[in-house]
Symmetry: C2
Subunit: 419 residues, 2 copies
């Protein structure tokens, strides 16, 4: 197959086929998206991103979450560049480790301490290990379908995974108190921890915030059993509440895992914990070659400080609402049964009766063609760089994209006949 010289994305994919298994791996593999999405990107600036073919988009994926202040934020990058001249990885941490740990402890009410690493998976794994060390028990409760990382104990795939890797996991259903109670009963005296996502954000499903009752019950069960309540805030952290996502439901975990947005795109993750688990955190062994590197910590301090000072969470929420309301009106007018769920700043758009994703995929492709990057099934992300003008520009695109989708599916007889 000849690839046109101006289709750089397809040329890269062809080259990748020989040196990368399957051409790409993991969540960024373009095979997980409808045909028409670009695989390769070259640039990000604010809320805009450019693909390898030079097309630009208003971006609602934010590099899958990390870009909370927008790409290439000048304050974050200035802090990072300044630290880069001094030192990044050294024989020990830089003083920024202490500054950052203090800032995190000050910002996150449940946190008496913090540890840092590189991947969300590093943080969730350390939380589980600390819970087991602190309790001397083994069972970890996790919600059906929840994503907590990509190593054998938690990967969404079981290829190359042994049964023993998950021997001590017990499944409950998110927001279902009876199922959580049953899982706690099943764990019995061996309950080490209850692991909960910040909210239910399974791929391809409606996103659901925790109910106050569920959150309170999870807290109560963990406390009664002297087990750890662990919030996986990797995806949502710093977008819903700077103090941790479960502040919204009035519940404080013992341990939390953070990553993605913590340093506006610089590779960093964190575990925060309370004093009940400090001693256990001291005893476990967790480490990595780049975990105390100064540049990502400078970036994190700049990110958290700017989030605090600028009221970014409220801004993202308001912008998300503006997008949601505008889009809903457009969808309703055209008779689409559009379900927008999740916090407004972390939305997912799903169409009723669209099990084969034909409507959602078509809508996203029509938007993509017009310069707006949505994801058809995964949690999306707004950043502080998404302004009202950007949302309105987006809504002009979605109006056209929905009309084009309506025309296409009328033609194909795909639209759900409703309202």
């Amino acid at each position: 197959m000849m690839v046109p010289a101006n289709d750089i994305d397809m040329q890269l994919r062809r080259r990748a086929q020989s040196v990368i298994p399957g051409g790409m791996w993991g969540h960024q593999h373009v095979q997980r998206l409808p045909e028409g999405y670009p695989q390769y990107f070259t640039r990000g600036e604010g809320c805009r991103t450019w693909d390898a073919n030079g097309r630009s988009y208003i971006d609602y994926l934010c590099a899958w979450g990390p870009m909370i202040l927008g790409y290439n934020d000048p304050d974050v990058e200035e802090a990072a560049a300044r630290q880069r001249i001094e030192g990044d990885g050294l024989n020990g941490p830089t003083p920024l480790l202490v500054d950052l740990a203090e800032l995190v402890v000050e910002t996150v009410p449940h946190a008496d301490w913090a540890l840092f690493s590189k991947n969300g998976t590093d943080a969730t794994t350390a939380c589980v290990t600390i819970a087991r060390a602190g309790t001397g028990r083994r069972k970890i409760l996790i919600a059906r379908g929840a994503y907590h990382g990509a190593i054998p104990w938690c990967s969404p795939s079981v290829v190359g995974v042994t049964e023993e890797d998950r021997a001590h996991l017990i499944i409950y259903d998110y927001n279902d108190i009876a199922s959580l109670d049953a899982a706690v009963t099943e764990a019995g005296a061996d309950l080490a921890g209850i692991l909960v996502s910040a909210f239910k954000h399974d791929v391809g499903k409606e996103h659901v915030l925790p109910t106050r009752e569920f959150a309170a019950r999870a807290r109560e069960l963990a406390t009664n059993a002297n087990a750890a309540l662990i919030v996986d805030d990797v995806r949502a952290g710093f977008r819903l509440d700077l103090g941790g996502s479960w502040e919204l439901v009035g519940v404080r975990p013992d341990l939390s895992a953070w990553s993605k947005a913590i340093a506006n795109g610089h590779a960093l993750a964190a575990v925060t914990g309370n004093d009940r688990f400090r001693e256990a955190a001291t005893r476990i062994f967790t480490t990595g070659s780049f975990w105390t590197a100064g540049v990502s910590m400078a970036a994190s301090i700049a990110t958290i400080t700017k989030l605090r000072e600028t009221g970014a969470v409220a801004h993202m929420q308001a912008m998300g609402r503006r997008l949601r309301e505008g889009l809903q009106k457009q969808a309703d007018q055209l008779g689409f049964k559009l379900h927008q769920s999740g916090p407004s700043q972390m939305p997912v758009f799903l169409f009723e009766g669209d099990d084969d994703r034909r409507i959602g995929n078509r809508f996203c492709l029509e938007a993509l063609e017009r310069g707006v990057y949505f994801h058809p099934v995964h949690t999306m992300f707004l950043s502080a760089a998404h302004t009202a003008a950007i949302i309105d520009e987006t809504l002009e695109v979605t109006a056209e994209a929905l009309r084009a989708t309506a025309n296409a599916i009328d033609h194909e007889g795909m639209r759900a006949t409703g309202s």
Copy 2:
């Protein structure tokens, strides 16, 4: 306890005590070193590093390995800075992913493909998962005492680890063919992979290169069983041979794990593999939020290119030999039974009969005080920035440090009476 205002390191440690469990975690915890070592560092440049109190050292730890061209290498940092302006983490990889994968495949003879991640542990874990996926079997053979990462399946600590996490590991002794044969027999039809370190580099023990016989036998056993031979080249990779450390013994693995030196300090790791395991690598799920970020890949391309073009491996080896020979002469003259082992560019210094480490610790502290940073028990690292003049400057320090150590231990009656 009052800490003097000019002892910034101690002030940082005090602050850290309240916001970091135990004040620090992992391999960089200063508690693992003799009293007198600094915990915090502020700067690195070439082969020199500065601690938080402003003292500078000729550094033989190289940030525990990553700094292979020296701290703040201008070519690497220029490439990184240029990419930083363009884009780091985006919705998909940058074209640098393909460039880097091609460069790695071209540089590493056994590699038909590459995958990238952030930690050495990510890479070793992916290797094990790919081996299991490719064979449909479970048993992984690992050498007694070998370090392969810091999550439950491989951590050197079992605190917070369950028995099941290691259910399918079988232990052999490095360089011991009979024990490897026995482990293969024990695994039987369930053998997925044989995991070997590049060389035996256990903390506090003499470092031993693989024998040709052992390496050939490991290859033969894996091939006969249709299992994977996996080299953990995280620590040694790019310092012994750019094509992989087992090129030195004429054996090519099926899979290798890389990290540390791959991007001269930028957070990056890699798995390389041959075509036998390409399909398995396509099927497993491994991913992370920052794994395709462009800046660390730009740094890696610049690092590998410079290593190739400058003959850095031969230089580091020669400089290591210069240090080793000079130091040995000094030690012999003073009657120290100094055992220097490991490749010269990754040495460890151990004194005979020094089980309580009093001689080794004292020597390292005397060197530290005179501006040379050695590690008393861990693998050390030379970089391309260690010149002959630097080695000679180091040897002036070691001469004094050894004399001071001799005086101290004569006083304490500590010296092994020899030669």
